[in-house]
Symmetry: C2
Subunit: 122 residues, 2 copies
DNA sequence: GGTAGAACGTACCAAAATGTAAGTGTGAGT
DNA sequence: ACTCACACTTACATTTTGGTACGTTCTACC
């Protein structure tokens, strides 16, 4: 009972980076401490509300630390914890895979969405 | 405009393995051709409808191939394509990460969900 | 004959995730 | 004075996702 079962661990990872944005967020935090608004700009397309949620969850999971500079107007930044860095490392291959196959995937998605949907021959 | 942007590739991967079940499904297909009902049993907890959806999407993305044995009662199996295998390889690290940190993640989730929510010391 | 199981399809629903728009308080720039 | 940016929060609307339940066609089994 150890073939590759035991629940492959994917479930664990997924529970941490689940959602549409978390992987992207983590990715954009690799440069070091980053401010809220800067993350928002980098990720692009994410709303403040959702970004906040995700950040809070990530912080709760000890993947990030939040540093409030106690200034006004507010200055807060988020940083990957060592734990978070291991996670980022783990998704590097996925990132590379995505880059390597961007064309193919994009193309496939395109034709899947094409109105006359000729996905195959007939 | 190419610092590390260009979209890190994660968006591509995510568009393929997005969703609650796809990674799990792929994982359980590593053994080779697997029948629908067998996948369902292995993954566990997934409904027929959703499994069907996911499989169809995966097939559409050329990650899997569907083989209908043209028998009755129906015999159909799904297999990873070479392309699919590269994807599976890419999520191996995530899988390992999950296994390595299962305890911590589980614990964190547990206390986050605890009714009296003592997230910190006291 | 009735039942079970194979691999689906479909209708309808509930829940989760995401998005939108607005508001908060304060200080710096114009 | 007015506006903007900061880091959020809240209420609300919408979209996406997942789930339940049932139907189908056919065969093997009791």
């Amino acid at each position: 009972m150890d073939r590759l079962t035991t629940q492959c661990g994917l479930d664990v990872s997924l529970s941490v980076i689940g959602g549409k944005w978390k992987p992207l967020i983590l990715y954009h935090l690799q440069d070091g401490p980053t401010r809220f608004s800067e993350i928002r700009r980098r990720v692009g397309g994410i709303s403040e509300k959702v970004l906040m949620q995700q950040l809070r969850e990530l912080v709760a999971m000890d993947v990030l630390v939040r540093h409030d500079h106690q200034q006004v107007p507010p200055v807060v930044d988020y940083t990957l914890t060592p734990f978070g860095k291991t996670l980022v490392q783990a998704l590097v291959p996925l990132c590379e895979w995505g880059n390597r196959h961007r064309a193919q995937v994009t193309e496939t998605l395109r034709r899947a969405a094409s109105p006359d949907g000729r996905t195959r021959s007939a």
